[in-house]
């Protein structure tokens, strides 16, 4: 073979080898991409299944709360009221010794207190106000019940657009605010709570702030059930929850962002 033939042979061989190597590389890349996309799809399916399971669990929990609240209010609460009424009737029908009257009054006071407690527990378990009067009124009622204790003032400024959010979402928002207030009452030693909400583009922003002692520096390691519940509910709303802890004793601040889809109106004017 002459030089030119060897040269051509080498060039052709190089071209063939490069083509083979490139084919292997391309085959590897496309196969890897396909496998990755299948894995991603499986992962997404798993996540959406988990989310659905969580949604169902929370929905069942809410239904059960609703049932217990109704039982407490309609059954036990009513029976306690009837007992109290009967006691008052008994008191007016017969003549009692002063000692006996004192016991009857004590029983009546106890019953009144039990009726009040039952009513409060029932409302806390399932705030019927939400379905009757909307989220704003329910949150205002919650704030009023906190203020009634005379320790904490609640300043609540809530966007009116909330009224258009669907019921299934509203209950989560209510529970989140309720949990934040519970945390403040239990741990913060605060005197004031400020809750502000507004809409920004497609999001509802809720800013919760108290003036208590704040969370300990290692709060991230000790997330309690309360914070876990908040995160679960915000997750179900596809939202974000950020806790900003001021360790200089100026309380803690929570920022909640929830995607907001205004319900569209159907032809007959009902929310869809």
């Amino acid at each position: 073979m002459n030089d030119s033939a060897i040269f051509n042979l080498i060039i052709v061989s190089i071209c063939i080898m490069v083509a083979i190597a490139l084919s292997i590389i391309v085959l590897f890349n496309t196969s890897q991409r396909r496998i990755m996309s299948e894995l991603q799809k499986a992962h997404d399916n798993k996540l959406s299944l988990q989310k659905m399971l969580l949604e169902n669990t929370v929905a069942v929990q809410e239904r059960e709360r609703n049932r217990i609240a109704r039982e407490l209010h309609d059954n036990i609460g009513s029976q306690l009221s009837i007992m109290n009424l009967s006691l008052n009737v008994l008191k007016s029908l017969a003549t009692f010794e002063p000692k006996e009257l004192l016991v009857i009054d004590q029983i009546s006071d106890s019953l009144t207190s039990s009726i009040e407690t039952t009513r409060n527990i029932s409302h806390e378990l399932f705030p019927a106000t939400i379905s009757k009067f909307g989220i704003n009124t329910a949150l205002q009622a919650l704030a009023t019940s906190v203020e009634r204790a005379g320790v904490i003032d609640v300043d609540m400024q809530i966007s009116h657009e909330w009224e258009q959010i669907e019921q299934s979402k509203v209950i989560h928002i209510y529970r989140v605010v309720q949990e934040l207030i519970n945390n403040t009452i239990k741990h913060a030693e605060a005197e004031n709570i400020v809750i502000k909400s507004w809409t920004e583009a497609v999001n509802i922003i809720i800013r919760y702030q108290d003036d208590g002692i704040g969370l300990s520096a290692d709060y991230n390691n000790y997330k309690g059930i309360g914070l876990g519940n908040i995160q679960t509910r915000i997750g179900l709303l596809d939202g974000q929850f950020t806790l900003q802890n001021d360790q200089h004793g100026d309380g803690y601040k929570a920022i909640i962002t929830i995607p907001f889809h205004k319900p569209t109106l159907s032809e007959n004017g009902e929310n869809v």
């Binding site: 030089d3 060897i6 040269f7 190089i14 080898m17 190597a21 590897f28 890897q32 496998i35 894995l39």
Partner: protein, 221 residues
């Protein structure tokens, strides 16, 4: 004045060497071997050019073949471990080194091209590169982003070996070939080497990105 093909491989090798030095602290243990491989490649680029002024520089190629085999076997062994493949690397290394040394001592003198051992090493490098691809496709338990630079190295090594093997297969004929044609081939070879170094530089960039990503992740958690 020397041709561009004389300087380009040295400059790009130097750039790859510098890039690797910059990310040295951020690399995984098995990737360090590629750093050493790049460093040795750069050193041999210079040594080979200086050596030509004093005589036949082919003994350098014999030594380079041995080092290339050992370093790349170590690099692949690191990847095999990550991908959960039990490869008998020690036996592989012993047999390989003995064969290369015996070839240089008794079959192909150190003053001619060691085409036998060079072709064998290139072939083994290619087989190992393909085996890494197969393992990567079969094993999904690793983090893809962490192995991206290694995959780029494997790709560069595979491309380089697939062309290099042809050169070394015909190396002794090329030495006897018409100088103009031979020069054309050496220019192609130089271009290929430069391309491989560009891949290495890109892998350094991937190491840098991975390090930034891992830092961001650790900050979040």
């Amino acid at each position: 004045m020397k041709e561009l093909s004389f300087y380009v491989p040295i400059v790009i090798s130097f750039l790859a060497f510098v890039s690797y030095s910059l990310v040295w602290k951020k690399i995984e243990p098995h990737e360090k071997l590629i750093g050493i491989y790049i460093g040795i490649g750069f050193a041999f680029e210079i040594i080979a050019r200086v050596w030509t002024y004093y005589g036949n520089n082919l003994p350098g190629l014999h030594l380079y073949t041995l080092l290339q085999f050992v370093i790349l076997a170590g690099f692949y062994q690191g990847l095999y471990k990550i991908l959960g493949f039990n490869f008998p690397n020690r036996s592989y290394l012993i047999v390989g080194v003995v064969v290369i040394v015996l070839n240089s001592l008794f079959v192909q003198s150190i003053f001619i091209f060691n085409s036998n051992s060079k072709v064998g090493v290139e072939l083994l490098i290619m087989i190992q590169a393909i085996s890494i691809y197969i393992l990567l496709l079969r094993n999904q338990d690793y983090e893809v982003s962490s192995l991206k630079p290694s995959v780029t190295f494997v790709t560069a090594i595979l491309l380089n070996a697939s062309v290099s093997i042809i050169f070394h297969l015909y190396s002794n004929q090329v030495m006897k070939m018409d100088l103009i044609l031979a020069n054309k081939l050496w220019k192609i070879r130089a271009l290929l080497n430069a391309l491989t170094q560009v891949f290495f530089i890109f892998a350094c960039y991937q190491i840098h990105s991975r390090s930034k990503y891992q830092k961001a992740l650790s900050t979040i958690s």
